[in-house]
Symmetry: D2
Subunit: 384 residues, 4 copies
């Protein structure tokens, strides 16, 4: 596959995800961490215009100078931007106009690819842009799910997606021996800056589960009173449970006929054998405590990963999101990609059902605040 083919493939996938939406679905931002779908469509395009076309394509004319401002996400180095929490009030440009913007940029990216074939710095930026877009593809799915779930009539995004009902294919535990190991990217293939430097860590012996926690296991926790036993919870987790009156994973509802969850295919009965998803770090840790087990550290996860089936759920680890030894953020706007978020977040490892093909590797570090639940995450346990 040529680089151009790859470019088109990734770009098309974003539009495919949105093809099932109505224009109105593209607008809301029900909470600050969810973005409107059309914002994702535009922002991923803005990235190519801002970092590739403007600096590298001679005589490039921007599609619309307002868009620089409207579709910047968090890059302070690229000028003023719309506050993250205010994206839901921006109704224009319409989705149709944004699709035009995408095609205009794609056409010019083709020119750039011809013009700069073999320029390593340009290629690296394009690769970053494609990986960036793939990250937004995953967010598109989870943001669409969040937006539709706010509607009391539980609309269906796609009848045929069955992500909430995936099952484990293995049981039991794997033992990893004590010793010095290396983790982090070795520089082969694409990686983000936060996967560097590759470095040594010392691990004690541990045993890690080959399967993820299921809905059925979590139901036992609920029925055993897990949400009301403060001894299982972190102090901030216990406040979170009480202030938000949490009694089940996100999207779960107790109907008269039993537990149901909202899915991208509408409201469904929960499948007790499917892998649990949409739980906070707080819930993951309380569950582990109740099981008298623990969560793996990210180093343990990475060292064991080659012996594990992973890729359906992002897996919460017990590691805070912090720089690796020798981490250096790139200069300029691209340096704002990862480093500035390294506080108050926990690392998740693996990948999820919503992760695009070719966008997962065992050194990848995903990260969310401990109360965030709208991603397709899950729990893998380690013996204490």
């Amino acid at each position: 596959m040529t680089f151009l083919d790859q470019y088109h493939l990734v770009r098309k996938h974003t539009e495919d995800i949105c093809s099932l939406l109505q224009p109105e679905d593209h607008v809301p931002q029900p909470v600050p961490f969810v973005s409107p779908p059309k914002w994702h469509l535009a922002h991923t395009t803005w990235f190519f215009e801002e970092f590739l076309l403007k600096p590298h394509l001679p005589e490039y004319n921007v599609f619309n100078s307002d868009f620089s401002f409207l579709f910047n996400s968090y890059y302070n180095n690229v000028g003023k931007r719309v506050l993250r929490a205010n994206r839901g009030a921006i109704t224009r440009p319409s989705t149709a106009a944004i699709i035009e913007y995408r095609h205009y940029v794609d056409m010019h990216m083709e020119l750039l690819l011809q013009l700069k074939a073999g320029h390593e710095d340009v290629n690296q930026l394009i690769e970053l842009g494609l990986n960036h877009e793939q990250q937004h593809q995953e967010l598109l799915y989870t943001d669409i799910k969040y937006i539709l779930s706010c509607n009391p009539i539980s609309p269906v995004y796609n009848e045929d997606i069955n992500w909430e009902n995936q099952h484990n294919i293995e049981e039991g535990f794997i033992t990893v021996e004590e010793g010095v190991y290396e983790i982090g990217s070795d520089g082969e293939g694409f990686s983000f800056d936060n996967e560097h430097n590759r470095h040594k860590v010392y691990l004690n012996q541990f045993e890690i589960s080959k399967s993820l926690v299921t809905n059925g296991e979590f139901l036992e926790f609920i029925e055993a009173g897990g949400y009301s036993d403060f001894n299982l919870w972190l102090d901030e987790g216990w406040s979170w449970v009480n202030e938000n009156q949490i009694t089940a994973p996100f999207y779960w509802h107790k109907a008269e006929e039993g537990w149901q969850y909202f899915t991208l295919s509408g409201m469904q009965d929960i499948d007790p054998n499917a892998m649990l998803t949409h739980i906070s770090f707080y819930e993951a840790l309380a569950f582990a405590e109740w099981k008298k087990m623990r969560l793996p550290t990210e180093a343990e996860w990475e060292v064991a990963s080659n012996q594990l089936n992973w890729g359906r759920r992002w897996e919460w680890t017990h590691s805070a999101y912090l720089p690796y030894p020798g981490f250096a953020k790139p200069d300029g706007a691209v340096g704002e990609y990862n480093g500035k978020f390294m506080i108050n977040q926990m690392v998740l490892r693996g990948a999820s059902c919503a992760t695009p093909e070719g966008h997962s590797r065992n050194t990848y570090r995903n990260f969310f605040h401990p109360d965030e639940r709208w991603q397709f995450n899950g729990i893998r346990l380690v013996k204490p």
Copy 2:
């Protein structure tokens, strides 16, 4: 004009207002007191379905049973409803589906009108429904203005509306003599419950202005430091100014080239001779204080109204919104129309540029909280 013609005329006007919008414009609710345009389209229709078709048209089948829940505004008597602040997350039904709903209800309303021609109780409810829809037409304009104003690129709703630039046509003051007067509806023609009972009031002599305050006069207040002289303000007004850093009427922006305001025709230079609009009661009162004048009470306004040109701006009065002597709210859901809002609001009298034709009279009592500014309101002064 037949009653049916009148029905169609009012209903069509609502759709005409929305005809200039894109589907995406129909979704946002940037603040709780603004509603999404498609919600107005649906809610005004819901009113006819709920209060006319369901109880009065034999064998009527509701268009969609979910809509009762989705498009109830604040009628606790009509069952559960979406919280007012959450309307902006409801993307479906789409605007197109709501237009279908309108046509379905209109078709059945025609049947009802034929069937119940001459039934006084039905006619009264239809009249209420049409007046209700006209109130929402005014809100549609002001909500559309609010929504578009949130967009940093200042979109245009309609190039040809020129509401912000209307001028006074008279100057000077009118004197009204001391004595006992009657105010309130005398029952001729349509009126809301809050205009009753007609009752006697005792007024001292007063002199009231024939013109409304202009942008130019208000600019003088700004330039004289009106927003920073605490002696002019109510205590809660002064807090409001400081907490919100208010320095001008709503929609005003100080650009390098001078003061501008956002209008339904986009961003414009202010017209100093046009009637001021989009000010809070706090600002109205501070301005009056600065002028060493005062605002009229609603009784003074009503008694003087026949000698005044009014109808371009709702005019703030110095009367709190409270029941008239003998006020009795109707039984059931219709009783929730007005009475329950009689606290912490001030009365406005007159009508505005956005008020539909035939929907104004001098006994009409409009009401808003003292900090609310998104209506087309204004200031008329009285000598102290």
Copy 3:
């Protein structure tokens, strides 16, 4: 009684109220509208220093220049001041130091009274200062009650106060005939600016109760589900009930053995025959609605007052706190006394058990926000 005797009597009463407190009781401000007792001790003294001694006593040296800043309440004209909500963090000067301040100012006020005997302007300011201090005496009682109530061990202020258990001494209704009446102060004796001008009002005939609502009557409302029937409530009242989970008057607790209330004598069983107190305007109005009665307007109350027993509870009226015709606020800081609070508050008439002797009259206008309950207020009903 000489003017000096009167001065000493009022000043001593303030200290008597505080004599039952420990130093620690003088500090907290649990909510912004409650002030620390020692702040009242100091602020009432500050008033005399600021408005009498500084401008009128030659060569007066202020006791401590920091106190001007610390003990100003809301007079923007007198320079910077501590934000109202931050008074509870100010532990120094100690109560003992504030008592010294009081005595220093009292000594100089004696000098001033000798020096300026017969100066009408000075006498008027002293009279205002004494009335101001009497207002704070009432607040001292209600703020002390609030502060002690925050303590889970329910401390006793004074075993012998029995204010919550006062009974009505009359039953039945009085009829007042339709006509033009005059209300407001006629200028005889002391009055606040908000009681002016005396002016004519037109009243319809009405019948007003000779007794106030009792605890027992309000218990019936509770038991009939009054707090959960939205039809009885203003919209903002209904939100207030739900957001704050209100199920009873302030200070009421449902213990296993029945309803109790916190009083200045500690926790007690409620007395069903005593006059109800500590209810919001919202509760007063909902109760009246439930009884199919209404609250009087302030004009009705004043016109009927000579035929009523009043003075144990401030009585909620259905009038908003707004200026009387011809109201003019005095120049300078004294002008901030009343006028700037004339928004979003309702008028209460009468006086309460905590009102100092000689500080009540039937033109007195007290005012609070519709949700405020910590004063000794009550309900008097009018036939609809």
Copy 4:
């Protein structure tokens, strides 16, 4: 020194700290994380009554059964408790009554010590109680500083404390070689559960400063625009700076005559050569970024500590507060001591000027949220 002597010494130190306070100083809780001084006096005593006297002293009668409830801090296992944020409204028991409580408990602790001399489990709990009280002694100093700082007249706690003006006594950097090291408590002497297990870590070579950052160095950062260069800050740090309008370390004020800071001896000019204190983790990290250096991890700090002068400022590390390998929280209430706080906090190492003698060791893990500044913390840099 006997165990009893040690007990008395620690207990007396707490009362000594409070001996400079007035009764009123003992009451306020200006923010939830600061506790009233008398609460510290009582809570440290409650610990001995609850965990030693009640379970281990036969026939012990509690001093006052209300105190169990009033002075529990966060032990859910010990029943209901006053919400942390509401401590400032509790004026009774008075400080004098709490001192009586202390002496009552001390007398019974003497009996217990005689009766259970040599009982290892009791001794361990007493040792925990004394270390607990020493932690509160440090908090007493920092909470008193916070409380007094809220007073616009800047009261003096003690003229002779000079903690803010301590200087470094060494310069330059120390190199530590790459390799496997052990960190954590080896079980000799007292340690908290969070210092266990001792375990191996792999460190790369690093160079760590022998001195802490000074006020003068931080002033350079301020003057170079450090607070307005977003590239230096974590994203949440940048929000914190902007939302709170942070422009200097806590307690710093820019007076006309230059920078001053509030100290326990009142307001003073800053000493540019003194060790900086009262900065958040965000500021520490931004400063390090500006210096093109970094903060040490807690493992690096501990491994280097024997070659460093430390003990005047708690030093921010770049490690999140998480369990060590093999960490196990004790059963029951004592298990709530540390483990449940292991989220969203950063580790500080060392000790501070306010740390009681004998209460510091190089395995001690202190922890605070990244925005907390009221402790005597500081910055030590590592070459990148």
